[in-house]
Symmetry: D2
Subunit: 358 residues, 4 copies
């Protein structure tokens, strides 16, 4: 039972099928093909407006490329201090942005508050020694599994507009956030001020399918050159596009995300009911962050269940992980089976009981 | 009939099958899986020694990463002036090498001569204003479709050793060169002084499967960080490795390359027999570079045959493309059908006849 | 009365005289001159061993070049979170290091503790997503005006050795620290494990005279290329070297530093005696960081005395700046006149009295 | 007798005097001082319009900064293939431009022709693999000592406008070109389409005084950040500005340049009169490029006269350097004494005679 991440399984059946079908025959290379054109049009439909779309094979590349179009080499990009871009990409954004700086702000559950961002920008010295702030990057779903609601997004968008920041959304779990909010892609992005989006499909059914969706034409201008130069334009590009075709067909992507979120909810509710277990913060998408007793941790691991410990850095004020406890992350995905959730909860339940009996 | 490039078709059947099979189930992400381990071991077998292997989704990324491990930001990398790395990658090597410089030397059919490389290195001022030469990058097969023989490779290797250059081979068409020479991978690489290799599979049956094979441990040290940082470590990494498993199984890769070379040979011999047609230089792998009359060019295009014009930059001394002629490139691949070659030659033959009759 | 910084005055008389003398006649450009050679030898004497010396016109360039030789583009450099390199150089280190990352740790008075550095390094995940730590950079004198003693330096040096970090010292106020400790340059650097030093003279009498002194040969290898490439090798290089000749002659540099420290001590003691004034931390070199009442702040400003407010970020635990207070920095230099210090203290004294009377 | 370069002497008397005067007293650091303000205004007067001015300590830094503001990391900068920026700066432009590429075109005496630039731009493939051309950089005076006349500049300016290239002028010998043409600074720059200028004073009397003069506001936007980040904003900035004050006062700079050009003319005419000596191309500013017999070369060297051999790369078609000849460069400066020119010509004359007698 693998709750370690949502990238341990392969592609979902419709996505794999789309690859197999697109593989046949000869087509123009480097994205000048029919499938890529169709998928670009599909993105425009989904976002209810003209968009520029660029493809990438990893979320890291998508994020780094997106940021490189928004932040000059001497600029500053604000993000949460646990953001994937600052913590998990071996400095890819700094590389692609040519030495621009990421600066991380605090916030519960890895979410930023608009007021904190505004206050930070205002606190910066207006001097040449200070790299000027040029972009804000948030993760929707956040690294802590939380979802910015539409008002929060609007507030962040307003801060960006006021201070001349490009607004980037790392949507590695875009679909999970979307179905959690029950809104449209447009409502969750450009209608709230988002300028450029890393649209991830890999974690939700894709094989290696990431897209950069650009809502501000000037940010799209050089992205084809930047992508090529980053080795991200694959020759048989239709095979990336095809994955999106399979992903979008029949709302497959939304169904996948709904399933993942539902599994996480079940997991979350089941765990929270156990004595000695509490949630670090609410479960809003497909990730659960419980604080559990060591005994439960041992019981789960003994049962071969895979998941990871998590940092306490973004706990709410006043909350902390006690001596005999650990904060962990459990991730559900489109491929998580209901029976595995039940199994895990049973094991957890008996683990806790055993502990109480000891 | 598509003779424009060897990247217009998808993956060959065994490679696609390997992807489909590897897709099932959950595995550790980011290359910590069983398939990746197996493929790494397979590379060691193929090259008859320990090697470090890193995967990439494009040849551009593989080349740029390889060069970035060999050339510091203040260094110079020597290549042919028509090399893919200098001409076709939108500056990816300069990006990955952080502003190091590529310098292009001339040579017939886009091949470098060891003496020219040595003379160039010796001609450089020994002064701080001069970026110091740190690497040599050759393409095997060359951009002009020529194959360096084992002695030529050894001579280049010796120049590299003498002058402290890392020796990089861009093997986008590695298999085509290998079967052309009839030697082993070891003989064509590290036994001749090659330090680091871009091993391409995409053009010869892969979907998006490139590997960097490193024969000098020091060059491998940081490549995992560099790859991550370049967004080249895909989460579902086993799907890249799986392609190589399908590629290597039952010598599928060699069979594919032999077929492509045979098709190119047939094409080359057929065209060379036509009046008014001559080869710019010999056909040694899977690409043919004939100089053809405009009439023939028109006839082929009228028949819907796809191929590209080529630069005259690397013609042998004394040779030139006349007024009514054009130098073109025709590429055969593992997927080229014998009947298409025959068809093309028939069309060509009647095109030339018609022209003579006019 | 300017206590804002130690870079508001020009060069001291001996340094200026050395420039004027070196200006006459023709000499080889770009550092191939006699004066540069002499000064290099002088550095070796001063540090009691062979050293490699490179010149720069700004401390920012010296720091950034030094770090670029120690940290690869994918590496991490640890420093205090208020360090000049992370806070005051508009990302110069990130630019010169090609996107490597600076990470700032806390510490009272902008000093790092060896244990904190060791704990931080150990806390980093051993994973490819994590940029590997490659260097430690400290400022001696620290940004808070504190001086690392020899044991503290040795402890930091030991941490660097244990974890494979290059040890960089930003010595913008090297002389001030040296006379504060009363030790030799060797004792304060390589004998405590320092690998590379930004040796600043500009703040202590130079016009624009900074040197990078390298104690580890491998770090010096490419610094001439890196300097040239950064536009730091000036053509009339002897004019930089000449400044150091004037600076070192007759221990002028040590006399300057002693004077500056003495002035700061007088200022510090005088201020600390005033009611309502306390030092944020001790005065150890040429900078004073008092917490003063607003009334005093107003009185000093009204008298035209220049100085700057300072961040509270590095106050000792438990200490804080109250409602009616402000933390400020006053800097003394070689050019600070004793009478100005007395004047300032008089103004301060009557400012405080007036305030009490109100 | 040093004819090796115009950077072997120190500063001229008025420039040195200005430094000494500006050195006294305290002023705001980092360019926020009165002298810097005055000099900025002076530049505006000299160029008869508003300009943005940034200072640098080397021509390499000035060029690299200027280009970095005009060329994005994925762009191409066109220059002559012997240009200082491509050949003599250890890749500084590539470093500051973050891996953008310089491409060198041929041309007699290191001058570019507008038609050649236009033809080159048109020849580039319109494809993502091709870095898009973003700037043209010329040297006025050229690396071969030639001066672009106003029509040639206008023609280059027109090509830049047509193709969207920023037009950069490397004016390391700006004054020498100016007095050679007898025009105004405005006529030689922005009135002919120049967008950004490296204005060198170091070779013509300065100590280390270079300025970037920007005629297009958008190119100036980030140059202060870029300068800081490159370590080019010196703390005691008024000492750079002061040099320009001395340089411009009483048209000192023009007098210096006129003297240098006159010395070069005398040298050139004297040498050209000698049997067996011819000029590679005309002498138009302060540099002479004669092709001389080996015997003369030996005689000059035996007399201790310093100068450098030169590349034959930019000889006019048909011209070449014979077996017993060598192409050399002799540089005159503001400090060249008439008697040294006469002395050199005497030595040359007798050297040639002796040779004839042998």
């Amino acid at each position: 039972m693998n709750f370690a991440s949502d990238n341990t399984v392969g592609a979902s059946a419709p996505v794999l099928q789309a690859i197999v079908e697109a593989n046949a025959g000869a087509m123009a290379a480097y994205g000048n093909d029919e499938i890529t054109r169709r998928v670009r049009a599909r993105f425009a439909e989904i976002f209810e407006r003209d968009v520029d779309v660029f493809f990438a094979t990893t979320g890291t590349a998508a994020n780094a490329l997106a940021l490189s179009s928004a932040v000059p080499p001497y600029g500053l990009c604000i993000c949460h201090r646990e953001a994937h871009v600052i913590d998990d990409e071996c400095g890819a954004p700094e590389f692609f942005m040519h030495g621009a700086k990421l600066t991380g702000l605090p916030g519960v559950g890895a979410k930023l508050k608009a007021d904190d961002v505004a206050a930070y920008v205002k606190s910066l010295p207006r001097a040449v020694k200070q790299m000027p702030p040029k972009a804000l990057s948030i993760s929707q779903v956040s690294e802590g599994g939380l979802v910015y609601d539409l008002d929060e997004l609007a507030a962040l968008g307003a801060v960006c507009r006021e201070h001349g920041l490009a607004f980037h959304m790392d949507g590695a779990r875009f679909a999970n956030a979307l179905v959690a909010l029950g809104c449209t892609p447009a409502e969750m992005t450009w209608k709230r001020g988002v300028d450029i989006l890393s649209f991830g499909a890999t974690k939700n059914g894709g094989l290696m399918a990431e897209a950069i969706v650009v809502f501000r034409t000037d940010l799209a201008e050089a992205l084809d050159y930047r992508s090529k130069r980053a080795g991200q334009i694959i020759s048989k590009a239709r095979l990336i596009a095809a994955q999106f075709e399979g992903y979008f067909a029949d709302d497959h992507w939304l169904a996948n995300a709904r399933h993942a979120n539902r599994m996480a909810k079940a997991l979350s509710e089941g765990l929270a009911r156990l004595p000695g277990v509490r949630l670090a913060w609410p479960t809003q998408a497909n990730e659960v962050f419980p604080i559990i007793p060591h005994a439960l941790d041992r019981a789960l691991k003994a049962a071969g269940i895979l998941y990871n410990p998590w940092t306490e850095l973004s706990l709410p004020e006043g909350e902390h992980v006690g001596e005999g406890e650990v904060l962990v992350r459990l991730v559900a995905s489109w491929a998580t089976r209901e029976e595995d959730v039940h199994r895990l909860l049973e094991i957890a339940s008996s683990g806790v009981s055993r502990h109480a009996a000891e």
